[in-house]
């Protein structure tokens, strides 16, 4: 692609990451393709932090479920940073484009899907297409509960905020990756996915006793989300992590 064409695209407001086609994420170069959500530095920061505070015990393989996985950046970086053979990750997303991109990213990072790596002793990442609000999703053999770790950066932008987003976000990135309340649902200030996932953890026993839940949250949502996971998902002593800009960004705790 020539530079002039790139400049024209950028001048129209297209995100730089879509034009360049990648975004560094920890030690990975994550492929970026519209409309799949571009990995954010806040997510990069907490994923690296998570990889440092939680290291899978030697000799045991932990199972990880990443909900609303998008480009797959969170589970792929964990697969990269954790020792070989220590994690079997699954990423769920409602978007075809996202699942395709996540699987391209896994290929680029050299991390095989579980079906391609039977007994190979490698870390695996399997992207799965599915809607977390549909109960049929949870009968999939690929989503075998319970998991040791659940991570998620679900859509969390409220309807009110969505209208005010910059055009480079609103016009290019998938609203399904941004809007925290579904179009036909009641107003929940962008918290619908947290309610739903907490409910699933409780109803479907998605998380093992003592398992870890890590949620990325939007500005000023941390307190509400902590209450949701404590009340609904049985997470005790949930912590709140700040991002490098000082914003409360992650709610994390054990069941």
């Amino acid at each position: 692609m020539n530079l002039d064409a790139m400049v024209v695209r950028r001048a129209r407001g297209e995100p730089l990451q879509y034009i360049l086609g990648t975004q560094p994420f920890g030690s990975l170069d994550i492929l970026t393709r519209p409309p799949v959500l571009i990995p954010r530095p806040e997510t990069e920061f907490w994923t690296i932090k998570l990889s440092e505070i939680l290291v899978p015990p030697a000799g045991r393989r932990v199972s990880l479920l990443d909900l609303c996985t998008g480009s797959g950046c969170i589970p792929l970086l964990l697969c990269r940073l954790w020792p070989s053979g220590s994690v079997r990750a699954v990423g769920l997303d409602i978007s075809h484009e996202a699942v395709q991109l996540a699987s391209d990213n896994a290929l680029a990072a050299g991390i095989p899907a579980a079906s391609d790596a039977a007994n190979s002793g490698e870390n695996t990442f399997t992207p799965v297409l599915g809607d977390i609000f549909a109960s049929a999703t949870w009968t999939s053999p690929l989503l075998q509960a319970p998991f040791d770790v659940i991570t998620s950066n679900p859509p969390y932008i409220s309807r009110e905020d969505y209208g005010k987003l910059s055009l480079s976000v609103k016009d290019y990135e998938d609203p399904r990756a941004l809007l925290g309340d579904l179009p036909d649902s009641e107003e929940q200030r962008g918290l619908s996915f947290y309610h739903r996932i907490a409910q699933l953890i409780s109803d479907k026993r998605l998380l093992k006793p003592g398992g870890l839940l890590a949620f990325e949250v939007g500005e000023k949502q941390a307190g509400d989300v902590r209450r949701i996971v404590q009340d609904k998902a049985g997470i005790r002593d949930a912590e709140i992590w700040r991002d490098p800009w000082g914003k409360e960004r992650v709610v994390i705790g054990r069941s």
């Binding site: 990451q17 560094p24 994420f25 530095p41 859509p155 976000v169």
Partner: protein
């Protein structure tokens, strides 16, 4: 050579009764004025001391078996070539002594053989004294031999002209590194609209790059008519260069014995509003402050915050390492009143005079008349090599002065 070697057993035959007599006769006419400069034996004492140190080290490592002491085994490995050279030297010296007794053999053909052999051994021993031992002593004692280099360039007086010259210096160092097959990478460059660079960091990845480049630290002065100068007046501008030692990567953690993590304040440079999903701008600039020393490092050239942080830590580590090396050097110098200089960063070390097509190194008092060849990287070799040699001589001098 080959023939001599096959004859060597002959030279070592057991002395025969007539042998001593003949030797006594021959002693009156010294045929071999070429004598080993054994007066220059100071260096032998230093080598011997190092070899003894190694033997002690080996003993202590063996005794503390099971205890994996990386530092000591590394030191052992570094002294190994010196030990091997010393063994060979000792053997050669013994051979020489044996040969000397045959110089006065009754048999003329034996004498001739012995003379050849004697000359050959003498030459070999001489080479040890003047080349091998000095080189090995220097490499085994240098704590900086394995380090990579980080060059920080800052435009000084001269405004945009200084920035233009900085860009040219950056090119010179990049080409110099390229010619030596060192991986050089501009880690950051603060460019101006006129094509100059206000400041830059060049990373040179190759073990030993620091040893070569360290003497480039100092103020580089350029005298020329700037392209932008209408009146044709010669301007003088400066660029300050600081060469920092870069430790190999693959550290277990970002911190090591150079600093404590809690002493480093990490700041991100620009606010992101709500951040997270709300914003997809790429704000990745990072600033580190090492509180005990007040050193700050800002990095914004990489595409992700994580990469900028990594690079900033790399530079912080290099600066702290530099402080440590400078301190160690100063301590050694004070303790031993040695000649070894520490680089004074404010010192004007070199002038690039375009009108006279000349580059002068003020420390060496050396001028090269082909400025372009220096700027192309090749000519720089002369200065770098001369400074390295000078430092080697000083270091060796210091070693010999040690009690």
């Amino acid at each position: 050579m080959q023939a001599l070697r096959s004859l060597r057993p002959l030279l070592r035959r057991p002395p025969q009764p007539w042998h001593r007599q003949a030797a006594a006769l021959a002693a009156k006419r010294p045929e071999f004025p070429e004598q080993l400069d054994l007066n220059n034996a100071k260096i032998l004492r230093v080598v011997e001391k190092k070899v003894a140190e190694r033997a002690n080290l080996l003993k202590s490592v063996n005794e503390s078996s099971g205890h994996n002491d990386i530092a000591r085994s590394k030191q052992l490995k570094e002294l190994e070539p010196l030990k091997e050279a010393w063994d060979d030297w000792s053997q050669t010296l013994q051979l020489l002594n044996e040969t000397t007794s045959l110089l006065h053999d009754a048999d003329p053909s034996m004498r001739a053989l012995a003379a050849d052999e004697h000359a050959e051994l003498t030459t070999k021993l001489q080479a040890y004294l003047t080349h091998t031992f000095p080189a090995l002593l220097l490499s085994s004692s240098s704590p900086t031999a394995h380090l990579h280099a980080l060059l920080e360039l800052k435009a000084g007086v001269g405004g945009s002209e200084a920035a233009l010259f900085l860009a040219e210096l950056l090119r010179m160092y990049t080409r110099f590194a390229g010619a030596r097959r060192w991986a050089a990478h501009v880690a950051s460059a603060n460019k101006t609209d006129e094509g100059g660079v206000k400041d830059a960091v060049l990373e040179v990845r190759s073990a030993g790059a620091y040893e070569w480049l360290r003497w480039e630290s100092g103020v580089h002065r350029v005298q020329r008519v700037p392209a932008t100068e209408a009146s044709g007046r010669v301007h003088t501008s400066t660029v300050a260069v600081v060469v920092l030692p870069l430790v190999e990567e693959a550290e277990p953690s970002p911190a090591d014995d150079l600093f404590k993590m809690e002493d480093v304040k990490i700041e991100v440079m620009r606010a992101r509003g709500a951040g997270g999903q709300h914003v997809n701008k790429t704000e990745s600039a990072v600033r580190l402050t090492h509180i005990p020393t007040g050193i700050t490092v800002s990095m914004q050239d990489e595409r992700s915050q994580h990469q900028n942080k990594r690079r900033a830590f790399q530079i912080l580590r290099a600066r702290l390492m530099d402080i440590r090396l400078t301190q160690e050097m100063a301590q050694r110098r004070d303790a031993r009143r040695s000649l070894v200089r520490t680089a004074d960063r404010s010192e004007k070390i070199r002038t690039y005079n375009y009108a006279q097509d000349r580059v002068t190194d003020h420390r060496l008092g050396l001028s090269l008349m082909n400025l372009e060849s220096v700027m192309e990287g090749n000519g720089l070799e002369t200065f770098v090599e001369a400074m390295r040699e000078r430092h080697a001589e000083e270091t060796l001098e210091m070693m010999l002065e040690e009690p």
